[in-house]
Symmetry: C2
Subunit: 471 residues, 2 copies
């Protein structure tokens, strides 16, 4: 038989086991923190009805969607029939598609199960999403999103906007990937400020924001010229005010308040945004987030169609090139396409696959040690029951243990442990069994010691707990 080349499509991140362990630990940290803040787990199907997924005519349809077709009964390779052709005949959009984010499925979930949920509904969801991106370094077609959202029925207190950064802080502190800053802005403040400069049309405000987004790449002069040019027709003074506005950053809570006040009075929507921001910034401190870890950043806009109030981005202080590692904000109505209920909410998303890839690329995370703590070697096949008994004891104590069942030279067994990243290797030879001891080789410390059989579990537990604390 001719061989088929074993390969995966571009844009997916498939990891070797020790990297998968590192990735899994990040998922576990995120989940643990989400749960500690009282968020409930939800999982939704990867496949959704296309009409459910693509109701909105806004940003979603620009995303590249993967459509799905069942084979009906696939009798033989090459016969891709039935449902496909039927859908061709009726209309061009296939019935099923893969989700491209977790927000649309959340909206669908909340609308579908509305009467079985308690509000405010606090859910976390950590699953993969799919986008048919063109193949390009750092672009993923399949990636994890780790989301939290709080959904209110009819209304949702602005205070929840302050809880979200507390969760972000808790997650990234424990992920231990370096200093970070949670940056906040408020859409109402932004819109109101632009309104005060004469840009009253929401679409025009969006276009201004898009220009302002080019600040980093094109520089202030370019943006100023565009804003004062024919397309926008702003005065030089107004253009400068826009540039000044989006460059506001705070260095402390007091500084944030001062800078918000320094913007001067504005229309009602701006005052509302300012008051929301102040309340949120103040409450974040009450949530225990140090002032070093959050700041005002009036350049943050996010996708304009969706968010209506508070918006967040989080960046690594020492690696700004990575961009935002966790973003989100407040929205007015989650599921207007599915239900008449008014469901405001606030939430954030961590794109973990991209984050992991970038951190690894920047040398900020390395391959993990094995989840296997101990390898029990096999000196003598006749003693297998003794080896298995030791392993059972270790496993019962929660120590992940592998037993060499194949046999072979001891040197080869050590090499296997070393290559597999297993730290402790146990040797139970004739001598050891007679003396009631075990020889423990610590491959990480390149150390070796003998321990009484009865003390083995305790000793290894202490070692492993120390290692866990040391990280």
């Amino acid at each position: 038989m001719a061989l088929t080349q074993a390969r995966t499509m571009p844009g997916v991140l498939e990891l070797l086991p020790l990297d998968q362990i590192a990735f899994q630990r990040m998922l576990d940290v995120i989940r643990r923190n989400y749960e500690r803040f009282g968020f409930l787990p939800v999982e939704t199907p990867v496949i959704e009805y296309s009409d459910v997924l693509l109701t909105k005519t806004g940003g979603e349809t620009e995303r590249q969607v993967y459509f799905v077709q069942s084979t009906g009964t696939l009798n033989a390779l090459g016969k891709w029939v039935e449902e496909h052709e039927r859908s061709e005949a009726t209309d061009k959009v296939p019935e099923l598609a893969l989700r491209f984010d977790l927000t649309v499925p959340l909206a669908r979930y909340v609308a579908e199960h509305e009467h079985d949920l308690s509000f405010p509904f606090r859910r976390y969801q950590m699953q993969r999403v799919y986008r048919g991106e063109r193949a390009q370094r750092g672009r993923f077609r399949e990636f994890y999103q780790c989301d939290i959202d709080v959904i209110g029925k009819d209304s949702l207190s602005i205070r929840y906007d302050a809880e979200v950064p507390a969760v972000i802080y808790s997650v990234f502190r424990e992920l231990n990937i370096g200093a970070f800053t949670i940056q906040l802005n408020n859409r109402k403040l932004m819109r109101g400020y632009f309104e005060s400069l004469g840009v009253t049309d929401p679409e025009q405000q969006t276009l201004v924001l898009r220009e302002v987004d080019k600040l980093d790449k094109r520089g202030a002069d370019y943006v100023r010229e565009t804003l004062t040019g024919a397309a926008f027709g702003m005065s030089a003074e107004a253009a400068q005010k826009v540039l000044d506005f989006v460059q506001v950053r705070s260095t402390s809570l007091q500084d944030a308040f001062a800078k918000l006040d320094a913007l001067g009075p504005g229309p009602e929507v701006m005052e509302q945004g300012r008051s929301e921001l102040k309340e949120v910034l103040g409450l974040i401190r009450d949530f225990g987030v140090p002032e070093t870890h959050y700041a005002l950043n009036l350049s943050i806009a996010r996708g304009l169609d969706y968010y209506t109030g508070t918006v967040y981005e989080t960046t690594l202080n020492d690696h700004p090139q990575i961009g935002s590692i966790c973003s989100g904000g407040r929205y007015e109505n989650l599921a207007g396409q599915y239900t008449k209920s008014h469901l405001p909410g606030v939430g954030i998303s961590i794109g973990l696959t991209r984050l992991y890839w970038q951190l690894r690329d920047a040398g900020l995370i390395s391959t993990a040690h094995s989840t296997v703590d101990v390898l029990v070697t096999q000196m003598d096949a006749a003693q297998l029951p003794a080896y298995l008994a030791v392993a059972s004891e270790l496993r019962a104590a929660g120590i992940a243990t592998e037993v060499v069942l194949e046999g072979g030279k001891l040197g080869k067994q050590f090499k296997y442990a070393d290559r597999a990243g297993i730290r402790f290797v146990l040797v139970l030879g004739e001598d050891e069994l007679a003396k009631g001891v075990v020889t423990v080789k610590d491959l990480r410390r390149e150390d070796q010691f003998e321990v009484a059989r009865t003390e083995l579990v305790k000793t290894l537990r202490v070692e492993l707990e120390q290692a866990a604390v040391m990280g």
Copy 2:
């Protein structure tokens, strides 16, 4: 805007949060046990190249495969173009498909990463798979598989066949879903025995097995008639021997050995199977599995094309109608379609979605308590900083805590906790704050007590640990 009905396609299991918690706990138990036995995590992409997924012309093509097409750039709803039409023009099979199991992706993974893996390669994988089944009660189009496999390079000791039941035992003991029996057979024994009865053609052996599979449904007389009929032409004596063979069950290890011996001598392949089975059965005991939890069952065949030696099924003693809850076996060569390396292996799979659904249907598992341990109520918005401080302290101690940020009547807050399945509700009113105490309401015990603020964490921890032990 006209509303779109929020709905999911048939054949997916979407759970409410408290059910999702119960499901997640099962996943956690399985993962923990897989890791304790030294299996390493692997995740593979949901989407694979069709030619990679569908190389085998055997069972796989009969499965109902979901094919995937990217939109290219989807400019507007209704324009499903580019890649789709291109694929139509060249051939009928789309380039991408969703995996229908975790075994083919494992084969692809091992072949692709062969030189980066240590052998024996022990991996676990717990992800969802997709099959375009016709909609039917209890049939899932999307479901979790939780697999372990040990893959050898060139060879793999038969001893690993005994380790797999030890893992199964460990998993199902901790899942705590009632008494279960791991049932074993060996394909070589089976084939050899049929050979001794004159059925030497492997295809004919397969057909005999298929008839024998109808024993439960159609009864012994029907099967006997078929075997002695024109299609098989077996003697009455041979047919009876087949029927006797597949009805062999053991009640203890000694009984298993005796029943294997009682089959009488046979051709070489049968002797090999018998010797393997004996070694495996004996070793399972050394792995610490009680004799009450595993048995010989010579009717077990599994899909004939794939398995070559030991085969397993696991059943719940009190719920035989559920069928096998965990199946697998030994195979000769994992990835012959991708690599010239000879990669024998042994593994099992738990179809968790179906299992969960069946257990729930049979009333064997119920909705979980919330992952949220504590709700901090809001008596007075001005005291929010105090509430948040308590919550921070609890969270730092690993206690999942939600704070009521919205406010509202205390009675309504209690109702929310009750409905959401949160056990402890804290009240910090003026009195409590002045006295330095907290009122704790235990909604599960319908009890209420006052505890010093400084003792709160300790007290709740003890309560929660007790609850965890009690299950």
